[in-house]
């Protein structure tokens, strides 16, 4: 019998190792698994590489992990936002590494990892500083740079409904990075608003099939 549900947040993040690459979903607050970020802080893993569109806001969630000195490196498209105080402090003090990746390339590199591919040729950033050091190739008259897959050890995700097989639906734009990150990590952990019975989600409406999910915990927010 397949049952990916766990009873507690602590159980959900159990075993995440120091030095892990953590794919952290969410775009602003939408689709952001705040409870799992809090649980990871309590769990204690350190020397983490965080992959997120941004670099945390305020002092909780991802920013809380950074504030506690658990994050060695952040891979994101846009670290600055109103309230990204923790990251900016660490950045100025040279205490955190930043890898800046264009937003669509960030997502596609993870898709590539999830799809078992070795990379892709992208027109994004050609002729700019962000293409420095990347292999370049002309294909049918257009210039591209080689982008490599970005794989996670862990993905922390948020969904709306989930059944015990790990089939998921999302709410509106809270979907964002979640489905791609679910595919790109060795261990995909999701906080869902509501557990539902197997078969309750119309198969036509399942966005992330359970094959990509390892653990799920119910957090009704």
């Amino acid at each position: 019998m397949i049952d990916k549900r766990v009873r507690s947040l602590a159980e959900a993040v159990d075993g995440i190792k120091d030095g892990s690459v953590v794919l952290a979903a969410g775009f602003g607050g939408a689709g952001s698994p705040e409870a799992l970020y809090g649980a990871l802080l309590e769990q204690g893993a350190k020397d983490l590489t965080i992959v997120n569109n941004n670099a945390g806001t305020g002092r909780i969630g991802l920013a809380g992990l950074m504030d506690a000195g658990r994050v060695r490196k952040i891979i994101c498209s846009y670290p600055r936002s109103s309230g990204s105080v923790v990251f900016e402090e660490l950045y100025r003090a040279n205490k955190i590494e930043l890898e800046l990746v264009p937003q669509g390339i960030l997502s596609e590199r993870m898709r590539c990892a999830g799809a078992g591919l070795g990379g892709f040729w992208s027109p994004t950033g050609v002729g700019t500083r962000l293409a420095d050091g990347k292999e370049e190739r002309e294909i049918d008259g257009r210039h591209y740079v080689l982008e490599k897959p970005l794989k996670g050890d862990v993905a922390l995700l948020k969904a709306d409904r989930g059944d015990r097989w790990g089939n998921l639906t999302y709410n509106k734009s809270a979907r964002n990075f979640n489905p791609t990150m679910a595919q790109a990590a060795s261990l995909s952990i999701v906080q869902v608003r509501r557990f539902v019975e197997l078969g309750e989600i119309d198969p036509e409406h399942i966005i992330t099939p359970g094959i990509f999910i390892d653990r799920m915990v119910e957090v009704p927010v």
Partner: protein, 222 residues
């Protein structure tokens, strides 16, 4: 009178035809959503996976799971849909959008765009979706104030700031003019009434050419 920011957005919105799919960049281009021409179906795409972005929600409609690229709450139009990030950027990078309206620090006369970093050492750089949009929309247009606050030109021979993309900008809407980027450089299609061409040139680093059918740029009070 120079156009206000909202009037620049209004002018850019007038060129959006019925049925276009368009992405609005953060900042000045975001204002276009508030001044879309009546009677046309214009589909706004937001890079966080919303196709068919509607106006800001009223109190009853508010759902913090539905935001635009600037993370402001929005609504979804009838016919709208949600996709995940990878598909959203597939739309963006794969020439599926008719237009990207973007902000800029600088535009060069060959269409080079600089809009992601000023290399200010006090702040970390951020690129967001700018490079994907600039590389993959069918057409890129820029909304920008003609000069910086201290009067330096933003329309330049070459960009001084790091590039976002090479030779992509086709049209520029400023508070003073509408300018096309052509193989011969900047061509002024419209300019505000109370400035002469030499004065406009003085505020522009690159050489301006006057379109044969140059028109007055004006916008309603708003």
């Amino acid at each position: 009178m120079p156009l206000s920011r909202k009037q620049i957005a209004w002018r850019a919105a007038q060129d959006l035809g019925d049925g276009v799919y368009v992405n609005l960049g953060i900042g000045l281009p975001t204002l276009v959503a508030d001044v879309l021409p009546e009677g046309r179906e214009i589909v706004l795409q937001s890079e966080n996976g919303v196709l068919g972005v509607g106006p800001a929600p009223n109190e009853n409609e508010l759902d913090l799971d539905l935001v635009n690229a600037g993370k402001q709450p929005v609504t979804l139009l009838k016919g709208g849909s949600y996709v995940h990030h990878t598909d959203s950027f597939l739309m963006i990078r794969g020439f599926h959008l008719d237009l990207a309206l973007l902000g800029a620090f600088e535009v060069a006369e060959n269409g080079d765009l600089a809009n992601w970093t000023t290399d200010d050492p006090k702040f970390p750089p951020g690129v967001g979706g700018a490079m994907d949009l600039a590389a993959g929309a069918k057409e890129v247009r820029v909304l920008v104030e003609h000069t910086t606050r201290d009067g330096s030109p933003r329309l330049r021979k070459q960009c001084g700031y790091p590039l976002t993309a090479m030779q992509v900008v086709k049209r520029i809407y400023t508070d003073l003019a509408v300018i096309d980027v052509t193989k011969d450089g900047f061509v002024v299609k419209e300019m505000v009434a109370d400035i002469d061409f030499d004065a406009l040139q003085a505020k522009t680093e690159a050489t301006l050419h006057k379109a044969p059918d140059i028109k007055v740029l004006s916008a309603p009070a708003m």
